[in-house]
Symmetry: C2
Subunit: 262 residues, 2 copies
């Protein structure tokens, strides 16, 4: 399939899942992609890319890496792009093959996982992945009801996090099996939970932290599995934090020793 047609097609989740490919858009995201081990199939470039020095540098880096470039008009680029103000570069790359079964946890150290329990907003999910990578989370797991992790807006908001930490979809059953095999506890975030600051000191060595849907919160499936329920102390006048803001606080409080002062 020609690259332009392919890139247009990849705006649909079904096409991404069938082809095991995704689009990475924008200068910064494509820079991060090039630095990653993922296989790049090709890139669309429009004249817009050459307007910024960083764009020119990226074009040279793509050429040096042997990536096939297809020059298209701004109008054609826009038909494949997800952004309103495209930067003139969109790369098509392979979704990593990683499966939950293959995930290796540090034998002795602290491991954190982030569980996305039907988180729906692509911007939130991208920010969640970016935050997870920043706090040395071992993997981010998308449970049913969560937006596709390879959606163009998720990839863009994640600022390269997809290329650094395993980002996988799985079922609750698969997560149950994995947690049982590797002795991973599950803590769910919910306004009615215990103060996370008070619980952080006795956090299990291997811990998956679950955050829920923007409107409905944690699902029944998550709640019945959780070994603990934690909350962030907030003003009584405010209903809740944004899910990505809440996860930032939780993953910070529960960060591994490598991110703590010695």
């Amino acid at each position: 399939m020609k690259l332009l047609t392919l890139a247009r097609d990849l705006r649909r989740r079904r096409a991404r899942e069938r082809q095991r490919l995704f689009s990475a858009e924008g200068i910064r995201t494509v820079e991060e992609l090039l630095r990653s081990p993922l296989a790049v199939r090709g890139a669309l470039v429009s004249p817009q890319l050459d307007l910024a020095p960083r764009g020119l540098a990226l074009r040279a880096a793509l050429e040096a890496a042997g990536v096939a470039l297809l020059e298209v008009s701004e109008a054609d680029f826009a038909t494949a792009a997800d952004t309103e103000s495209p930067q003139g570069v969109l790369a098509v790359a392979a979704v990593p093959d990683g499966r939950l079964d293959d995930l290796v946890l540090d034998a002795a150290g602290v491991s954190r996982l982030l569980v996305l329990d039907a988180v729906q907003d692509p911007g939130n999910v991208g920010t969640l992945l970016r935050t997870a990578a920043a706090f040395d989370v071992r993997a981010a797991l998308a449970l049913p009801g969560t937006v596709d992790l390879w959606n163009a807006k998720v990839v863009r908001s994640a600022m390269g996090a997809h290329f650094r930490l395993p980002a996988l979809s799985c079922s609750w059953d698969e997560l149950d099996t994995f947690r049982a095999r590797h002795a991973v506890a599950l803590w769910a975030a919910d306004v009615g939970g215990e103060d996370v600051g008070a619980r952080a000191g006795d956090a299990p060595r291997r811990l998956a932290v679950a955050v829920g849907n923007e409107g409905a919160g944690i699902s029944a499936a998550c709640r019945e599995r959780a070994d603990g329920v934690v909350a962030i102390p907030i003003s009584a006048a405010v209903e809740s934090l944004n899910v990505a803001a809440a996860a930032a606080v939780l993953l910070y409080e529960l960060r591994p020793p490598s991110l703590r002062p010695t």
Copy 2:
């Protein structure tokens, strides 16, 4: 001016500033607006609103509060709405008159302010206001270069925070005067700063926390004024956190005693 024309006009920042009015869109935001002391000028409603029980309840609440309702078609509603999937309700209300000069800080207790130093993304700014309200921040201040706080997407992402905490625009000079008069320290967030966890214990009683632009970070104007520069410990492989995620961690670490376990 007729309400539909007015609502269309208010999509422009200039119109909002001239009229001192803004639009609040969506069921939850309008519910929060109705609970606030702000004066509501009127509301556009489309048939969409009556499809949800919560929409019908909101219609009744608007009528009970004496708000003038204008019934419009979905097509007309869409010309005033900012969202792609409107919920059929958009209220026009007065921007509060508050000025920085009028802000009163607790004489004895801890006061936190959030300073937005050229934060540009409306979704980020809305989330920042929501987080500030959640962590009992006394006011959010938009410095030059920050997106208009009354932009429809900011209002929507803030989930009613505008109606709970003073959200004001000011210049660096005005902030200097206010800080001098009330003895408010300024800490800026920057990747090169000191670990915020290590500094939280000796945080000044009155403290403004500044976060910077999504790409460029803290401005020179902010940096030269800052009494301290703090950072969040993150993986060396990751450049930065999203600004709203970073602010959540900072405002959590620096939260007032009222949000700490006794």
